[in-house]
Symmetry: C2
Subunit: 252 residues, 2 copies
DNA sequence: ACGCATTTGTTCGTATGTATT
DNA sequence: TAATACATACGAACAAATGCG
């Protein structure tokens, strides 16, 4: 019997109390993820156990998980279970990087760390990251290279409080995607991002770096990454050299 | 009772015979869409009627429609029915155009048609559109302007046979998105597209058009649009002036 | 190698809620 | 108000993949 007028679970704070049961279940699961109740790459309880725990049918839990899987928060694996999504999945090295070599195949990129320093967030950075004026931030600069030639120059800004302990050494020692480091060591999971893309002229230093003439066209990719609850936690400004690579996008 | 070993419907040609029932239903519905059985903007039969017609439960039809709605092939409206997606939806003027003004709000763009001619497809165009060498193609060139200033220069290529009767006059007379014209008058529905984005230097004529210096950076957006069955039906090369606008993208 | 238990995936059926006309 | 259509929720059964003993 559908008892939608007397929900079997306490509603999450953000959802209206008349929201469907499966949405309430979803809120509870998201809250659990946010609280670190289940770690990235680890399985959450089975559908039947969650159904028993929340006092709803398995189908209702299923629908909640379906939506979360569609949002890349969870990954379902038949016969094994449902797992918390991670940025360390084998298939896609960089889940958010859309740069692709013109001549087929996925990008094989080397990394070179340029800089990592703590400072007060510049006003523009503070505004986008929703920091108070003068709050601490971490800036990271790094290079991605294909066949030894620079292709991407990244400039990252992170909230200082959440990323206490992020140092040059820590970054140098890390093998794997940055977002994997962030979720594993700092409990900050990037789940969504917005990018603003422009064509810009290379400044002299940038031109030298990429081996192009000053004023040559480069792709500017400004990314704002969000964690649970649509809270922005990373600002990234990338310059892409799109001579032998391009930014690939799917429209649906 | 689940009778998955003896499917209640004939399988569609592309799917293996052991595919789930709802996938087979989905194939049948896609085939119907492709055949023009239901027109864009029009409702398809109700879930209960489809269930009766195909001899499956309503839940199975529902799951098929769910996937098609997720792929933007159909649009569900509670209380009204399920409708064939169209490029004339009120909310989004241009469903595939990601250009956005830097200062908030959606883009309000005027159009100016520059050219429309029929010719043999150049080899590169023919290759991408899967045309035979020397087959006919239609080329359209047009401008999008914001506040009277050019922002986008579009260069389109369409298969000549499918777009017989597409003329300058026809285009001039049309009010609304091009893709709406294509689906309404030529029965060609764009359902998906892939874009390759680069920063390029403005050629002299392009520079004059946009009012920038020759060599100034412009965004090059090469779009290949597909219809049902992943058949490419449009090649579009756009040049975007990204001084007061940007290309907006969502990463999930 | 085989079978069993676990977990997600598919399918059916039924009842009720909510939005639209 | 009534009829229609999609949306939510429950329960039950079997299929398919996985891992373990």
């Amino acid at each position: 019997m559908a008892e939608t007028t007397s929900p079997a679970v306490e509603r999450a704070e953000s959802a209206p109390s008349f929201s469907p049961l499966y949405q309430q279940i979803k809120s509870l699961l998201v809250t659990g993820l946010e609280a670190g109740q289940w770690q990235p790459g680890q399985p959450i309880p089975s559908e039947t156990e969650l159904a028993a725990r929340f006092g709803v049918s398995q189908g209702t839990v299923r629908k909640a998980i379906d939506e979360m899987a569609a949002e890349n928060l969870l990954v379902r694996r038949q016969g094994k279970g449902t797992f918390v999504a991670t940025h360390a999945e084998a298939q896609t090295q960089y889940r958010f990087l859309r740069l692709t070599p013109d001549a087929g195949g996925p990008a094989a990129l080397q990394r070179r760390l340029l800089d990592c320093r703590r400072m007060r967030a510049p006003v523009e950075v503070a505004r986008l990251l929703a920091l108070k004026a003068g709050e601490a931030a971490v800036q990271v600069r790094r290079l991605l290279l294909a066949d030894g030639k620079p292709v991407v120059l990244d400039d990252l800004w992170l909230p200082g409080t959440a990323f206490k302990g992020l140092t040059m050494e820590r970054l140098e020692a890390w093998r794997g995607p940055l977002y994997r480091l962030f979720e594993a060591e700092f409990s900050v999971r990037m789940i969504r991002a917005e990018e603003k893309i422009r064509a810009v002229a290379a400044a002299p230093e940038e031109a030298a770096l990429f081996g192009v003439a000053p004023g040559a066209p480069l792709l500017s990719v400004e990314r704002l990454s969000y964690t649970y609850g649509d809270r922005p936690v990373e600002l990234r400004r990338g310059l892409y050299h799109t001579a032998a690579h391009h930014y690939r996008n799917e429209l649906g």
